[in-house]
C-alpha cells in the first residue's frame, strides 16, 4: 500500500526534509586510492549515497573487435548492489543501469585524452553500495577522481551535481524523496576549469526562466564539488610529503 507523505518537502522557513537550505549541498566525503588491485579508485559519500569506483587500464581491448584505431575505448559500468535500496534490487543489469552507464560514459569521455593511447580500453566500474537519489552525479564525480588517481591524462576533472524544483522552489542536490515527489530534476556535469557542460538532463517541468536559474544553481554546486575532488586527490599525496619532511 503506497504511503502518503503528509510532511511537506519544504517548510515555511524554507528548510528541506533533511534540514538543508534550498541552495545547500549534502555533506560530501571523497577518498582517492581505496582499492589496491585497481589502477585507480575512489569512494564517495554524498549524504546517504555510498559509491565505490575502480578504474582499470589502459589495457588491451576485450573483445578484440571493439578496438578503436584512433583512440582508447572508454567503458563505464554503473551497477547497483542488491542491498543499495529499500527493496532488494535484482543484481542483473536493468534498463536504467544500462542507460546510466552510457550517460556517464558520455559525460566523462570529453575530459579524457583518449587519442593519446589508441587501441586500448579504459574500464570504469561504478558500484553503488547505497543509493539515496542523485547517484548518477555522485558516480561521475567519483569516477573522475578515480581516473585522475589512475594517472590517466585528462583535460579537466568532471564534477556533477543536480538542481531541481521541489514544492515550487528551486533547490540544489536533490535527494531521493525530493526527486520522486518534486516537480523537476536537472542533473548537470561540468568541466570546472574549462567551463564546459558534458551532461545535461531534465525530467519534470521548468519554465525557461526557472531553467536558467536552476542551471546556474547546479553549475555553482559543481564548482563546490570540484573543490572537494581536488582536496581528495591532494590529501592522498600530501600526507606522505608531510610525514617525511618533518
Amino acid at each position: 500500500m503506497p504511503r502518503k507523505t503528509t510532511k511537506k518537502l519544504i517548510d515555511k522557513k524554507g528548510v528541506r526534509v533533511d534540514g538543508r537550505k534550498p541552495n545547500e549541498l549534502r555533506s560530501i566525503m571523497i577518498k582517492a586510492g581505496v582499492i589496491e588491485n585497481a589502477d585507480g579508485s575512489a569512494y564517495i559519500e554524498q549524504g546517504r549515497n555510498k559509491i565505490l569506483v575502480g578504474v582499470y587500464g589502459p589495457r588491451e581491448v576485450h573483445p578484440r573487435h571493439l578496438t578503436q584505431l584512433d583512440r582508447a575505448l572508454l567503458r563505464c559500468r554503473y551497477h547497483m548492489a542488491p542491498f543499495s535500496v529499500d527493496e532488494r534490487k535484482s543484481p542483473a543489469p536493468s534498463r536504467r543501469e544500462q542507460e546510466l552507464s552510457k550517460v556517464i560514459t558520455w559525460a566523462i569521455e570529453p575530459s579524457v585524452f583518449t587519442d593519446r593511447f589508441p587501441r586500448t580500453s579504459l574500464d570504469v566500474f561504478i558500484e553503488v553500495l547505497e543509493a539515496n537519489g542523485g547517484t548518477r552525479c555522485a558516480a561521475i564525480t567519483a569516477a573522475s577522481v578515480a581516473l585522475a588517481d589512475a594517472g590517466i591524462p585528462m583535460r579537466d576533472l568532471v564534477a556533477a551535481c543536480a538542481a531541481g524544483k521541489v514544492g515550487g522552489q528551486l533547490v540544489l542536490d536533490l535527494m531521493d524523496v525530493e526527486d520522486k515527489m518534486g516537480d523537476a530534476d536537472l542533473p548537470v556535469a561540468l568541466l570546472p576549469s574549462l567551463n564546459v557542460i558534458t551532461l545535461l538532463q531534465m525530467d519534470g517541468e521548468l519554465s525557461a526562466d526557472e531553467f536558467e536559474k536552476a542551471l546556474n544553481l547546479a553549475i555553482n554546486g559543481c564548482q563546490q564539488i570540484h573543490m572537494i575532488q581536488r582536496e581528495a586527490l591532494k590529501t592522498r599525496h600530501i600526507a606522505v610529503k608531510q610525514a617525511v619532511e618533518e
Binding site: D39, G40, G57, P58, R59, E60, L69, S111, F113, R116, F117, P118, R119, T120, A148, D149, A150, G151, P153, M154, R155, D156, L157, L191, P192, S193, L194, Q229, R230, L233, K234, H237, I238, V240, K241, V244, E245
Partner: protein, 237 residues
C-alpha cells in the same frame, strides 16, 4: 605572462598553469594561449616550457627505451612479451639467431620460454603498430638472477636522480647491480639476499616519496642505518 603555480607544486588535471607565451611540455596541454595540466603531478617550469611530472602513470613505449619484459607466448617466428604497457611487445627470432633461422629446425621455447624475464630495447613503436624489441646488445638478454621491483614508470627519472646521483648512490651503498627498465620494472641483483632486500626497500621508498625534497640524503641515511643494524645483529650471533 603570468604563471599560477610555484615550481614543484602539486597540480590536478585542468589546473591553469600559465597564460601566454608558454609552451606545453609533458603532461600539459595548450588551449587559446593558456597552458593547463593534464595530470595529477608536480609542475616543472623549464624556461618557457611547462611540464607536469606525474605521480601516478602507466608506461607508453618509446623508441630507444630499455625495458624489462616477461615472455607470455612463444610463436612460430618470435616471442610475445608483456612489457607492463597497454600493448604486447614482439621479439623476433631472427633477432636472436646470428644465422638464418628455420622454424622447422629451431625450437624457440628452448631459448626463451613462457615466464622468462628479458631485458630488451624498443626498436620501433608507433600509434598503429605494437612495439618491437631487440636483445642484440651486450647488456640485453635473459635475466638469470636477481629480483624484480615494480615502481611507477614516471618515477624512473627520480630513481636515476640528477646526473645519476640517486642510482649511483644506491649501487654504491648496497653493492647491488641495478638495471632500470623504463617501463617501471627494476632488476636488482646482489651478492646476498640481504643486500638485494635492502636495495628493494630503498627503491620502494624512492617510489613512495618521489615528490618530497631532500630524498637522496634520506635514502642514504636509511641504507647506512639498516646496514649498520644488520652488521651488529650478525656480530651478536
Amino acid at each position: 605572462m603570468p604563471t599560477f603555480f610555484e615550481d614543484k607544486q602539486l597540480v590536478m588535471p585542468g589546473d591553469l598553469l600559465a597564460e601566454g607565451g608558454y609552451a606545453a611540455g609533458e603532461n600539459a596541454y595548450k588551449e587559446d594561449e593558456k597552458v593547463f595540466s593534464a595530470q595529477l603531478g608536480l609542475v616543472d617550469f623549464e624556461e618557457k616550457t611547462i611540464h607536469v611530472v606525474a605521480l601516478r602513470s602507466f608506461y607508453i613505449p618509446y623508441v630507444g627505451d630499455i625495458v624489462i619484459g616477461k615472455v607470455v607466448d612463444v610463436g612460430f617466428n618470435g616471442w610475445t612479451l608483456d612489457i607492463n604497457a597497454p600493448y604486447a611487445a614482439m621479439l623476433k627470432a631472427s633477432d636472436v639467431f646470428d644465422r638464418p633461422f628455420k622454424p622447422q629446425r629451431d625450437d624457440l621455447s628452448s631459448i626463451f620460454n613462457i615466464g622468462d624475464l628479458i631485458v630488451a630495447k624498443v626498436v620501433s613503436y608507433s600509434r598503429t603498430r605494437d612495439p618491437l624489441l631487440t636483445i642484440s646488445e651486450p647488456s640485453l638478454g635473459k635475466i638469470s638472477k636477481g629480483q624484480i621491483v615494480e615502481v611507477t614508470p614516471s618515477k624512473i627519472p627520480r630513481l636515476i636522480g640528477r646526473q645519476g646521483s640517486m642510482i649511483s648512490m644506491l649501487k654504491r651503498e648496497t653493492g647491488c647491480h641495478i638495471t632500470l627498465g623504463q617501463n617501471g620494472l627494476v632488476l636488482v641483483s646482489g651478492k646476498t639476499l640481504e643486500d638485494e632486500q635492502l636495495a628493494i626497500r630503498a627503491i620502494r621508498k624512492v617510489d613512495a616519496e618521489a615528490h618530497t625534497s631532500g630524498l637522496t640524503d634520506r635514502i642514504t641515511k636509511m641504507i647506512q642505518k639498516e646496514k649498520g643494524g644488520n652488521e651488529s645483529a650478525q656480530k651478536d650471533n
